[in-house]
C-alpha cells in the first residue's frame, strides 16, 4: 500500500520546499506521544536512508522509515484549515481511536 498526498497539500509542500531551497523530500513518521499512544511527525528530509520506503505522488517525494510505515500504510497527507489555524493532516486508515486532544492515536 502506498502513501499519498492531496493536491492542496502537495501545493503547500512544494512552496515550503522551494522556500527552504534544499532537501530531497518530506519525511513522515510516528512517535510515541500524547495521551493515546502515537503521534505524527512531519519534517523536511535531506537524506534518504537505505531501508526507507519512498513514495512519489503529485511531484512530492514522501519518505517513511520501515518502522513508521506499518503505522502509516495507506495514509493520505492532507492540508486543511480550522478557524485561524492551517496545517497538515494525516488521513490514516489504520487509526482506531484518537485521544481527546487529537494529538495522538491508536492502531
Amino acid at each position: 500500500m502506498s502513501i499519498t498526498i492531496t493536491e492542496i497539500a502537495a501545493k503547500h509542500v512544494n512552496s515550503h520546499l522551494k522556500q527552504r531551497g534544499s532537501g530531497v523530500g518530506l519525511r513522515l513518521g510516528v512517535k510515541t506521544t500524547g495521551c493515546s499512544g502515537l503521534g505524527y511527525v512531519i519534517e523536511f528530509a535531506d537524506k534518504i536512508e537505505a531501508d526507507d520506503k519512498v513514495f512519489e505522488d503529485k511531484g512530492i517525494t514522501l519518505i517513511v522509515s520501515p518502522k513508521s510505515y506499518v503505522y502509516l500504510k495507506g495514509t493520505e497527507l492532507d492540508f486543511g484549515r480550522e478557524g485561524l489555524n492551517e496545517g497538515f493532516k494525516f488521513n490514516n486508515p489504520n487509526v482506531k481511536d484518537k485521544c481527546g486532544c487529537g494529538e495522538s492515536f491508536n492502531v
Binding site: S22, T32, F44, D51, K67, E82, G87, K89, F90
Partner: protein, 610 residues
C-alpha cells in the same frame, strides 16, 4: 485532529548549537576557550589569550582584572587566589603573610580586607570568572550557555564546591568540573584509545603537579596525584637571575623586575635546542651555554622527576606501563625537561599542543560534548545507542528515553497499578527497539515496595530515567501520594558491542510489522483483562445490591464471552467484544454512578453540594 506544521531538522540543529566554553582557571593565568567545528578559539583580553588571574581593587571601589594597565590611583592587587581555596585558617594566614595580605573570616570563609570591604575567596574567584565570561561573550556576541571548568586533580569536594559557588556568583552554568590532567588527556584525544596509563606532567609558573591517569572504557580515573605548590617556572627564572648576579657582578640594573625579565628571556631562548645564548645587556654581553643552563636548572628538574617517581609508586604503576607523558604548563617548553623525562621514563612525550592552552582546550572539547553540539563519533558517551524503557503489562516495552537522545538527559513517565490494593510494583528496565520485552535486553529490575493499598489505577508511580554524561543510568521509581521511592544504578552500554547494537536496530526495522501486530494483540488482551477485573470487582461489591438476577446474568454472560476470547481470538474480535460489553452493561455503570453520587450528597445541604 490537530493540524501539523513541517519541522525542519536543519533549523533544529542550528537552534540547538549552544555557546559553551572550557575555562582553565589557573593559579597564575586563566584561559577561556571554545571548540566549534573542530577549531579552537581562545578569547582575548587586551589582545592576549592568556589572562592573568589577578584582581586589582581600586580605591574608588572599582575592580579590574588581568593585565595591570591602570597605573593611576591607589590600587590593591590580589593574585594566585586559587592557592587560598580550601585552606584552613592557619594555612591561609601563613600564605597571606607571604603575599602581604590582611585576611579575616567572612561567612566562615577566608576573606581579604581591601579598602575596608571584605571579599571572600569565593567572591574574588567569581570576579575572575565573571571577567572571563564577559571577555568571551563580548567577542562571540552571544551569552554563554554553560562552561566546563577545570580544577586540580587533588581538589577535594569542598574545594570543588567553592569553584562551583564562584561560578554561580558569576552566573556561569557549570556543565561539569573536570580534573586538569583529564582535560589535557581529552585535548590529546586519548579517550579514543581503549585503555592505558598516562602521566600528566604539569609544570606551570608557580606550581608543579603530576597526575597518574588510568583510562578504562573511555573514562579517565585519577590514580594518584603529587606535586609541589611552591615549585614552578619562576624558580627557574630565580636560578638564572642568581647566576647572572654571581657571574656578572659589575652589572647594575635599575630595578629588580629588569633582572627578572632578562632571566626569563634567557630561559625562553632555551625552549629549542640552542647551544649558546648571547644576551646584550646595556653594553655587557651575557653568554650562557646549554651545558651551563642545564647545570643551573638541573636541581629543579631533578626534583620534579623525583615527584613523578613518588606518584608512580603511590599508584603502583611500573615505569614500563606508562603509555605516554603529557606535558602541560608553559615551563615544559624547555627542551631539557623533555630530554630528562624520556631518559628517565623511556616512553613517548606528548608535546604537540601548546602546553599553556592544552587544559583549556580539553575543557572546551568536553563542554562541546556535554552540550550535545558535537555530532562526532563519540557515540557511546555522546548519545544513547539504544532506547531505554520499562516492561509494562502484556510483556510490552514502554520506551522512556528513545535512542539517539544526547546525554546527559532526564526523562520520566507516570505509571499505575493494575490490581486493587496492589502494594508492590516490579520495574523491569530494558534496552532495545523491539516492542516485546523478550526481544529487548534486560538491564535490571527494582521493586517498588510499600505502595499504599488503593484501587487499581489510583496510585501514581513516576519512573524517572536519568543518564549522566558518562552513560551511567539511574532509575528512580516514586509513588507520588506516599513518596515511596526505589532506585537502581546501571551502566547501559555494558556488554553490547557496536555490531550487536547495529543488529538490534536493524531487527527493529525488519520485524516492525510483526511487532506492531504483537503490540496490538497484547494491548487488547491487557485491556480485556482490565475490564474483566474491574467488572468482577464491581459485581462482588454491589452486584447483588444494584442488580436483579436477570441483570446479573446479562453481565456475567458478557464477561464469559470476553473471557473465552482472550486466549485465542484476534485482537479485532477482543476489541469488538469489549465495546459490546461496555454497551450492554452501561445500565450497571449508570446505577453505580448514581449510587456513589447519592452517598456523596446524602445528608448534606443543597448549598454544600452545589
Amino acid at each position: 485532529m490537530s493540524l501539523l506544521k513541517i519541522n525542519d531538522p536543519l533549523e533544529e540543529s542550528k537552534h540547538l548549537k549552544r555557546f559553551v566554553v572550557g575555562i582553565d582557571f589557573g593559579t597564575t593565568n586563566s584561559i577561556i576557550c571554545m571548540h566549534n567545528d573542530g577549531k579552537f578559539t581562545q578569547f582575548r583580553d587586551n589582545g592576549s589569550e592568556i589572562i592573568p588571574s589577578t584582581v586589582h581593587f581600586l580605591s574608588n571601589g572599582d575592580v579590574s582584572i588581568g593585565l595591570d594597565e591602570m597605573n593611576s590611583g591607589e590600587k590593591y592587587s590580589i593574585s594566585s587566589i586559587k592557592r587560598f581555596i580550601g585552606l584552613d585558617e592557619a594555612q591561609s594566614k601563613e600564605l597571606a603573610n607571604k603575599y602581604d595580605h590582611t585576611i579575616s573570616k567572612k561567612d566562615n570563609m577566608t576573606s581579604f580586607n581591601v579598602f575596608e570591604t571584605n571579599h571572600s575567596v569565593v567572591d574574588i574567584s567569581s570576579y575572575l570568572l565573571k571577567h572571563l565570561k564577559t571577555v568571551a561573550e563580548k567577542e562571540e556576541g552571544e551569552k554563554i550557555f554553560g562552561a566546563v571548568i577545570t580544577v586540580p586533580a587533588y581538589f577535594n569536594d569542598s574545594q570543588r564546591q567553592a569553584i562551583k559557588n564562584a561560578a554561580l556568583l558569576s552566573e556561569i552554568n557549570v556543565l561539569r568540573l573536570i580534573n586538569e590532567p583529564t582535560a589535557a588527556a581529552i585535548a590529546y584525544g586519548l579517550e579514543s584509545d581503549s585503555q592505558g596509563k598516562y602521566v600528566v606532567y604539569d609544570f606551570g609558573g608557580g606550581t608543579f603537579d603530576v597526575s597518574v591517569l588510568s583510562l578504562e572504557k573511555g573514562i579517565f580515573k585519577v590514580l594518584s596525584t603529587d606535586g609541589d605548590t611552591m615549585l614552578g617556572g619562576d624558580d627557574i627564572d630565580f636560578a638564572i637571575e642568581k647566576w647572572i648576579k654571581d657571574s656578572y657582578q659589575n652589572i647594575t640594573l635599575n630595578s629588580l623586575s629588569e633582572f627578572k625579565n632578562v632571566a626569563k628571556k634567557i630561559k625562553e631562548s632555551f625552549y629549542d635546542d640552542t647551544d649558546v645564548v648571547d644576551y646584550d645587556f646595556s653594553g655587557t654581553k651575557i653568554t650562557l651555554s646549554k651545558e651551563k643552563f642545564h647545570q643551573i636548572i638541573s636541581d629543579i628538574i631533578q626534583r620534579t622527576v623525583t615527584i613523578v617517581r613518588t606518584a608512580l609508586k603511590e599508584s603502583q604503576i611500573r615505569t614500563d606501563e606508562i603509555k605516554s607523558i603529557l606535558l602541560v604548563g608553559g615551563s615544559t617548553r624547555i627542551k631539557y625537561i623533555k630530554t630528562l623525562l624520556s631518559e628517565n621514563f623511556n616512553c613517548p612525550i606528548l608535546d604537540d599542543i601548546d602546553p599553556d592552552k592544552v587544559v583549556a582546550q580539553g575543557a572546551a572539547i568536553q563542554a562541546e560534548i556535554l552540550s550535545g553540539n558535537s555530532k562526532e563519533d563519540i557515540l557511546l558517551l555522546d548519545v544513547l545507542p539504544l532506547s531505554l524503557g520499562i516492561e509494562t503489562m502484556g510483556n510490552l516495552s514502554e520506551k522512556i528515553i528513545p535512542r539517539n537522545t544526547s546525554i546527559p538527559i532526564k526523562s520520566k513517565k507516570t505509571f499505575t497499578t493494575f490490581k486493587d490494593g496492589q502494594t508492590k510494583l516490579l520495574i523491569h528496565i530494558v534496552q532495545g527497539e523491539r516492542e516485546l520485552v523478550s526481544d529487548c535486553k534486560s538491564l535490571g529490575q527494582i521493586i517498588l515496595d510499600n505502595i499504599p493499598p488503593m484501587v487499581a489505577g489510583m496510585p501514581r508511580i513516576e519512573v524517572e530515567f536519568q543518564i549522566d554524561a558518562d552513560g551511567m543510568l539511574s532509575v528512580t521509581a516514586t509513588e507520588i501520594n506516599s513518596n515511596t521511592k526505589a532506585t537502581i544504578d546501571i551502566k547501559p552500554s555494558y556488554g553490547l558491542s557496536e555490531t550487536e547494537i547495529t543488529k538490534m536496530i536493524s531487527d527493529a526495522n525488519s520485524f516492525a510489522e510483526k511487532d506492531m501486530l504483537i503490540r496490538r494483540n497484547s494491548e487488547s488482551r491487557v485491556e480485556a483483562n482490565r475490564v474483566i477485573y474491574a467488572l468482577s470487582q464491581a459485581l462482588e461489591n454491589d452486584g447483588s445490591e444494584l442488580l436483579n438476577d436477570d441483570e446479573i446474568n446479562i453481565v456475567n454472560d458478557e464477561l464469559m464471552k470476553l473471557k473465552n476470547l482472550i486466549e485465542t481470538a484476534e485482537s479485532e474480535k477482543i476489541e469488538a467484544q469489549i465495546k459490546q460489553l461496555e454497551k450492554n452493561t452501561e445500565f450497571y455503570v449508570e446505577r453505580r454512578m448514581n449510587k456513589s453520587i447519592q452517598s456523596l450528597i446524602r445528608g448534606k445541604d443543597v448549598d454544600e453540594v452545589l
